[in-house]
């Protein structure tokens, strides 16, 4: 692979990580919890889309919409049933509950959809004038698949819409207020519970989109599919400064690019080790991530 090829596939993978990392970082910013079940929502989203398209013969776009819708409902349900009762509990209790939810989703998927790997179809195929299937663009020696293009575009669009929503929308403002200070926000008449639910809904919806995009690039779907991209995206969120939305975007992109470059130029097997080593070095230099807020301890 040439340098440019690696760069483009790195940005594409990084875009998927960025979309997942947004879910982590928003939930962390607002509920101060590490939602370890987020990776498994990706997997559920991918399965829903897979079955919508292959079994119910829905068009891919409708399939993705169904997946987003159901994952949003799933996210709200998980939040209401498992996390909302623990709002005043110690953070470790919430963490263990999130792990429980993650086990639950994985094993439910195992029972419902069997451990046999499913091959995710490629939606991003155009039919040329001669009827031949095209999966990508050819620009000289450079070949960019449509999946890559769509992933990058979707990520940028999501990023822009989300930034606008958080900065200008009424709910977005409420979200920022709640993440700043829950009690003060409540005193200002903000419904904290609704705001947290909306955050989970957005995060889970994005997870479904990320699931479909990830699966289009790496098409083997099994019940544990979500855990590795989940951990990577979580790393990306911390990398960029957890709680910061531009940070998640930047962290995700950088992580994807580093991973692909490590694969191309260092070693395929050790690419994960390289990614995590870079994370450690970054955290040593900037202990709250690239764009994270430095919180001064008050004595």
């Amino acid at each position: 692979m040439s340098f440019l090829d690696s760069l483009i596939s790195g940005i594409s993978l990084g875009s998927v990580y960025a979309i997942i990392a947004l879910g982590y970082t928003m939930v962390y910013g607002i509920a101060k919890m590490l939602n370890f079940a987020h990776g498994d929502v990706i997997m559920v989203g991918a399965y829903i889309c897979f079955f919508a398209v292959t079994r119910f013969n829905l068009p891919p776009l409708v399939g993705i919409l169904v997946a987003v819708l159901l994952c949003t409902v799933l996210g709200i349900t998980i939040e209401k049933l498992a996390y909302a009762p623990l709002r005043s509990a110690p953070s470790l209790a919430v963490l263990i509950t999130a792990i429980g939810v993650s086990y639950f989703l994985q094993n439910a998927a195992l029972l419902l959809w069997s451990p046999n790997p499913k091959v995710f179809p490629n939606f991003f195929i155009l039919h040329g004038a001669d009827g031949a299937e095209q999966t990508g663009l050819e620009l000289g020696s450079l070949r960019i698949s449509y999946v890559t293009l769509v992933t990058i575009v979707v990520c940028v669009v999501i990023m822009l819409v989300l930034t606008f929503f958080i900065n200008n929308g009424k709910l977005g403002k409420a979200m920022r207020a709640v993440s700043e200070d829950k009690d003060a926000a409540r005193l200002m008449g903000i419904n904290v519970n609704t705001t947290i639910s909306v955050t989970f809904a957005i995060g889970s919806g994005l997870a479904a989109i990320a699931g479909v995009l990830y699966m289009s690039a790496y098409p083997t779907l099994v019940p544990t599919t979500g855990s590795m991209p989940g951990i990577k995206a979580f790393t990306a969120a911390v990398f960029g400064g957890i709680g910061s939305i531009p940070g998640a975007f930047l962290g995700g992109l950088l992580l994807g690019v580093i991973e692909i470059f490590a694969k191309a130029y260092i070693s395929t097997q050790l690419s994960d080790a390289v990614v995590f080593a870079v994370l450690i070095v970054v955290l040593l230099v900037k202990p709250s991530g690239l764009l994270g807020k430095v919180v001064r301890e008050k004595v």
Binding site: I96, T97, Y103, N107, Q269, F276
Partner: protein, 347 residues
């Protein structure tokens, strides 16, 4: 006779419980009433109990969340097993060989714990947690690509490729993603029990010493502890390295209960599993960790009759336990009960 303090009474109860369970289990085994399922679980239970109490030292006593404890277990497992294989012709007694392997595993895990601790302990809270996770993954990746062989010239090490340049009669010990195979199963329940006792003695004495009080002071308020002159990093490192070394010994014990194992056995999920033991048993509560580790290691086996539903049941039980334990109504009910009991007994 001098009246025992509450802490030492609790500690002796814990020792007593472990010794009693050992005696009872040995008696059942000797009587031939032990089911083969439980018999096969005895050594893993010991290993997980040691993992749980060692992680409890980091999470409960030191107060730092570690998500990469399985990494230290992995170091201990690989180094310990390598030692046992290398010493095969030197030490005849399998038990003595196992003890050597446990010590070497603990030393290596302690060294790695020290190296990991240098960067990790500078960070706080969730950032510390993610860096321990990162180290766990790095250790896993390295062992997945490490080749180690032994011939008459000594050890041969190589990363990524199986190019060890060994003499033809040399023996491959660690085979990258294949892990270690052909292990003599020399782990025994008795050694596992001894390891638990040693770890408990170390932890209880550490916690009740000057150092232990300093460590708990750091957990409760780092800034206050620093301001009265406690060297924070030194004590944090002391607890972290002790914890890592115990995990290493547990890893060596665990590994030599199987004929073969791979690096992927000690992944993020294993770290999380041990963390679940610690949280369910209660932070800083060693007795609770022992019970939780033993019960939750047997539970999935005991649920075998539910076959494929067992992990689903396990997940639901886990969520429900966390919800019930942290329910304000139930909590205050028990709190009231405990207060009235205490008031009657002591005041």
């Amino acid at each position: 006779m001098k009246k025992l303090t509450k802490t030492s009474r609790n500690n002796f109860l814990t020792y007593g419980f472990v010794i009693l369970s050992y005696v009872v289990l040995q008696a059942i085994t000797a009587g031939g009433h032990m089911s083969s399922m439980l018999k096969g679980q005895l050594v893993p239970i010991c290993a997980y109990v040691v993992m749980a109490i060692s992680l409890n030292l980091t999470v409960g006593i030191l107060g730092e969340l570690s998500l990469g404890h399985a990494g230290f277990m992995s170091v201990g497992a690989f180094m310990g097993t390598t030692t046992a294989i290398a010493l095969k012709n030197v030490i005849a007694s399998p038990t003595l060989r196992l003890v050597c392997a446990l010590i070497v595993g603990a030393i290596f895990a302690g060294i790695i714990g020290f190296l990991v601790g240098i960067p990790v302990l500078r960070l706080n809270g969730d950032y510390l947690a993610i860096v321990t996770l990162a180290f766990g993954e790095i250790i896993k990746s390295i062992f997945n690509n490490l080749y180690l062989g032994l011939d008459e010239h000594g050890f041969h090490l190589s990363l990524l490729d199986n190019k060890l340049h060994m003499e033809p009669e040399g023996k491959l010990i660690i085979g990258g993603p294949m892990g270690i195979g052909g292990i003599q199963k020399i782990s025994t329940f008795t050694v596992g029990f001894a390891l638990i006792m040693v770890c408990l003695i170390v932890i209880f004495n550490l916690v009740n010493s000057r150092a232990g009080r300093a460590i708990m002071a750091i957990r409760d308020n780092r800034i206050a502890a620093e301001s009265v002159g406690i060297p924070v990093t030194t004590y944090k490192m002391m607890a972290f390295v002790t914890s890592a070394a115990m995990a290493g010994a547990a890893g060596a014990l665990f590994a030599m209960n199987f004929s073969t194992f791979v690096a992927n056995k000690f992944d993020f999920n294993t770290s999380i599993l041990v963390l679940v033991f610690v949280v369910l048993g209660g932070l800083g509560n060693m007795f609770g960790s022992i019970i939780a580790a033993a019960a939750l290691t047997i539970l999935p086996e005991a649920l075998r009759q539910f076959a494929s539903y067992r992990m689903l049941v396990y997940a639901i039980v886990l969520i429900l336990v966390m919800l019930i334990r942290n329910n304000p109504t139930i909590r205050s009910f028990f709190e009231r009960f405990r207060l009235s009991k205490k008031g009657g007994a002591e005041e």
